[in-house]
Every structure is written in structure tokens, then in C-alpha cells.
Symmetry: C2
Subunit: 298 residues, 2 copies
DNA sequence: AACGATGGTTCAGGAACGCTGAACTAATCT
DNA sequence: AGATTAGTTCAGCGTTCCTGAACCATCGTT
């Protein structure tokens, strides 16, 4: 009972390229083929699947409802294929290969700084490529098989094909600018949550921001956001400038002068280690994972 | 950064065909293709991957070490492709489609007999295809996307891409042939475990057999097997014929005359509902799953 | 030892596929 | 209206993949 569905990685590549780039011409350029080839390729894919993936709207093509499911298939299959390609490359080179690690800011600059340094010294032959960014984009890259391991904030809804294991809990504290000595009228006692804010924090969509919004809500504070940045340092500077308050991990934040810790440990975010479930075995990756787990247990 | 690995479902199909059939000629026939095409196809695949998948040994080809990893990829990709093909078919037909359900013997004939009957009456439009067999082969079929849902014995090491949820616990009891009234010298009191056996039970490799072997070991009995069958009814008959003892679920076994329940509830096997993680959504399957879960809770 | 059967490969030739470049259509911008 | 942009269609050509036939090597048989 054969599949009777003849597909090519090429065609799947076309599909996701069209999806990720705003325009087909752009996608074609990214693939290194002419728009003609892309158009014909997608048409051929539609023919083989027996369904329309794109409808015509003016001179633009808009994905149909069916498109989503096929795209899901294409993306997961291509991720697996990239994994295989990577495994083949390392097999052929015979080297221990490279490890592509993704980390959120605090993990790279504080929690696992020493682990990385030690690991680098211990295994100078392993090319370690480190990508720092917000959890969501790291997990996207991981799913796309562009990264091998990711250290990020725990996510409630876990994704298809991604496994997580807990590393450590990272407590977040409420920080306000230190009130000027010759008072603003605000008393010397800590303000009640209802008087907290406004806030500078991570951009919408950030896992940590969701945690913070939730915790502030529960504490009885309003969550009005007046400025955003993915970088903790930038948030700190904004607080120092008096733009607003923030919620950050104290660990690795640097000197606290000019800052008032209004509520330590408002909430903790759990850092987890995420990997792709279907990935082929890789000794270099396993070793790094072991080092990270050991480092977290310290 | 394209995959730079141009593969075809066709080539993967070739690879698994070669793996599942004893000889390449046979595999080629199963694929509906000449041996020549298969040979060239595999050669082309090896060329694209850049590694040898098969070594020559006499006139036979034996898989290399690398072969296993590529096969894993091929099988999981093909499973996903079959899922997509199935989804496409149901989408095109517009019907609610068919549901392919796998069950172990006891689940089909006893625990979920009424659930299936009710579901069939309730949804006569859904073509329900039922496959009964041992857990392991059902899970294999499930992984190959030949089945949509499986009810089987819980397995400790869970497979890649398969999710399980508990349904119910099925207690197993030790059964012996009733001793003839004019005694064999054995006393009327229950024998000690050390005197149990020998056994007729499920074939080696069966999940339930492993459970039984383990439980008997712990109870202090020797586990000498003198006859095997996958069918509970056959095992019961063997006990009645005096071939040996067995361990079976009493539920749904029929009349117990001629049988001696030496130890009820020796151990329980947990029945679980297994599905493929990556499968596209299917309303007909979801409804059946709901019915099974509800039936288990009753 | 010789011979045939078996398992797999190689080598033409031909069909199908996929790409490029150019001509083309249609919506959008100015 | 005219230029521009987005995507398609078409002819032509190189590549891929299949069949059928010839071929090679190994294993069994008598």
C-alpha cells in the first residue's frame, strides 16, 4: 500500500518560502530560482495534492483554508530533513561537528555564562554557535531545525515535536526608580500595588511579559505599558531615566543603585531546556546538554 | 538557507520497501517497478545523501551502520505523508471518512464491545475499520500511519511521535485446570507459587507476557512456558486440556467451569489509547476517541 | 565440476519533469 | 493614460527516472 503521493522536498521548500516571504518574486529570489519556476512548482504541487492551496485575489495569491494543514506538514518534514542533512554532514566530516545553541538573554549572560565558558575550554574542537533572543523566536528556530538546543522560558502549551526539561527557576522582582530624597510627596513606606507603575517591560508576545502581566494582575496592580524592549539592560536604563517601573531578574542585572526593589520575587519564571524530539543523536549536543543540566543543578 | 538535500517520497518508499521485504526483487515487485529501477533509485538516493546505505556481501546487499538513521527518517516522513494523503482524500470526498481502529483482543471483544456497537449505530455513515492484534504490531501499524487510533497495553518506553492516554486497568488472574475430584495427591488448599506452572501464555515479545513474567517472578513462581498463543480463548482451551496454567483477564473469558482461579488479580495491565502526535485533525476520529474515553470511565 | 537459477547491476533509449527566458495578462501606482 | 509590479503561460532544453535487455556474480544441484 504505497503512499501514492509523490512529493519532493523541493516542492515543500517552495511552499514554505512562499509563506515566509511577502511576495512570490521575493520567495523565488530567496530560493535562487525564477518566479516562473516557483509558479510552476506550486502549480505542480497543487496538482499532485489535488487541492488548491492559493486563491487569486487581484494579482496576489492568498492561501486557502487547506493551505495551513499542508504547510504544517511541509514545515515539519523540512525540519526533519534539515536534521538529516546536518547528521549526514557531521557523519561525513567525521568531526564532532558544531552545536547550535539558543538562549534567552539572562541565561547567556548570567545563569549559564560560566557553564558555556567551561564547556568551551573543555571542548575547544566543538564549534559552538550561540543565538540569543526571545523565547518565542528561539523555539521557532528550534522547530525549524535551525538550532539544536534552546534554553528559554517555560511555555504552557508545548509545541509539536519539542521536548522540554526544567533547568531552574529565575525569580523576577519589581523595580522602581529610587525616589528623590526631597520627596515627591510619596511616603517613605513601600507603595501599595495599586500605586505601582506605569511599566517598561518586554514586548507583547514575550513569554516573560505574559508571566509578569499575570503576576501583577494577581498582586492588584494595573499593567499599563509605556515602553518596551527585549533587552533587560535597556529596561533598566529606562527605569533609571524615570520612564517607568519594571519587573526583572535581579540576578546578573548589575549594580542596583538608583533602583528601588519594591517587591523581590514577585514571580518566578522557569527556565527550561528544549530540544527537538525527532532529532538524530549527536554526541556533541548531548555533552552540552549534560553540562547545562549540571550547571543548573549547582 | 535551503535544505540543499533534494529528496523524493519515492526514494524513501524504495528504502523502506527494501528494508521490509527480504529481497530487492520482491521489494521492487511490491512497488510495482522493475528491479532495475529500484537498484538505480537506491543508488541515486545514496548519491544524494553522500553515504553508502548498503554494502555488498556476495550477491546480497546488507545495510550499513548509517542505514538505520536514514531509515528512521524515511519511515517517519512517510508516515506523515500518508497522514497527509489521508487528510487530502477525506477533504476531497467531503465525507466524514473512515476511521481505522486497532484493538487488542480483550478490548475489542469485551471492554469496548458495547462502545463500538453504540458508536456504529450512532454514526452509521462513518466507515469503521477494526484491526485486532497484539499491542506491538498495532503500535507498529499506528506509527506507519496505517491506523488512526489504537487501544493496547501500556508500554513503558513510549515511541517517537506516539501519544498515550490511560483508559482502564485490566486485572489478570492465575488460572489452573480444576484438579480431578479423586485427588492427584495435591491438597485441597491453594498451592504455593513455587508449585505453579508450567505455563501457556502469549508469545515472546508480547507486552502482556512481559507483565506476566514480571509478576510471576515477583510472586515467587518459575516461568516455564510450554505453549504459546496470541488468543486468550486458545490459551483457555489449552488449560482445560491440561497443557499448563495461564494468566488471563477473567473479564470476558466466558464460563469458568473446569478452571481454578488460583490467584485473582495477580497483576493489572493498563489499557491505553494511543494516537499519532503529528496526525492532522479528523472529526470522525475525535468522536470515536471521545466515545472510548467515556466508555472507559463507565 | 558443470550448469541453471537467483539476486542484483549496467547500459541503452524514451517519457516525464523542472528550469530558464521571453512573451503575456492583470492589478496597482502616479 | 502610462509605467510598474505580480504572477502566469509557453517553448526549449537539460536532467531524472523508468523499462527492457544484456550482463555479472553467487549459490544449489545433480
Amino acid at each position: 500500500m504505497p503512499t501514492s503521493l509523490q512529493l519532493t522536498t523541493q516542492q515543500l521548500e517552495y511552499l514554505v518560502a512562499v509563506d515566509t516571504h511577502g511576495t512570490w518574486a521575493e520567495a523565488a529570489a530567496a530560493l535562487g530560482v525564477t518566479p516562473s519556476a516557483l509558479s510552476q512548482g506550486i502549480a505542480e504541487l497543487e496538482r499532485r495534492l489535488g487541492i488548491a492551496l492559493f486563491a487569486r485575489d487581484g494579482r496576489r495569491r492568498v492561501p486557502t483554508r487547506d493551505h495551513a494543514e499542508v504547510l504544517r506538514y511541509a514545515e515539519s518534514t523540512l525540519a526533519a530533513t534539515r536534521d538529516l542533512a546536518r547528521w549526514l554532514a557531521s557523519r561525513q566530516a567525521g568531526t564532532t561537528g558544531a552545536v547550535r545553541l539558543g538562549m534567552i538573554d539572562a541565561a547567556a549572560t548570567h545563569h549559564f555564562r560560566d557553564v558555556l565558558r567551561r564547556h568551551r575550554r573543555h571542548r575547544p574542537d566543538v564549534a559552538l554557535r550561540l543565538a540569543v533572543g526571545p523565547s518565542r523566536s528561539l523555539l521557532d528556530s528550534l522547530a525549524r531545525a535551525e538550532l539544536d538546543v534552546v534554553v528559554c522560558v517555560e511555555t504552557e502549551e508545548l509545541r509539536e515535536g519539542i521536548t522540554q526539561q526544567a533547568l531552574l527557576d529565575d525569580p523576577l522582582s519589581v523595580l522602581a526608580p529610587t525616589p528623590s530624597p526631597s520627596g515627591t510627596g510619596r511616603g517613605s513606606c513601600a507603595p501599595r500595588p495599586a500605586e505601582w507603575g506605569p511599566w517598561v517591560t518586554f514586548p507583547a508576545g514575550s513569554h516573560t511579559r505574559e508571566l509578569i502581566a499575570d503576576a501583577l494582575e494577581r498582586a492588584g496592580a494595573r499593567f499599563e505599558v509605556v515602553a518596551e524592549s527585549h533587552q533587560p539592560e535597556v529596561l533598566r536604563e529606562m527605569v533609571l531615566l524615570g520612564v517607568g517601573w519594571t519587573v526583572l531578574p535581579l540576578a546578573g542585572l548589575g549594580p542596583l543603585e538608583g533602583l528601588d526593589v519594591v517587591r523581590p520575587d514577585l514571580v518566578a519564571r522557569r527556565l527550561v531546556l528544549a530540544r527537538r524530539a525527532g532529532a538524530p543523536p549527536d554526541a556533541a549536543v548531548d555533552e552540552l546538554v549534560a553540562a547545562l543540566l549540571a550547571g543548573a543543578a549547582e
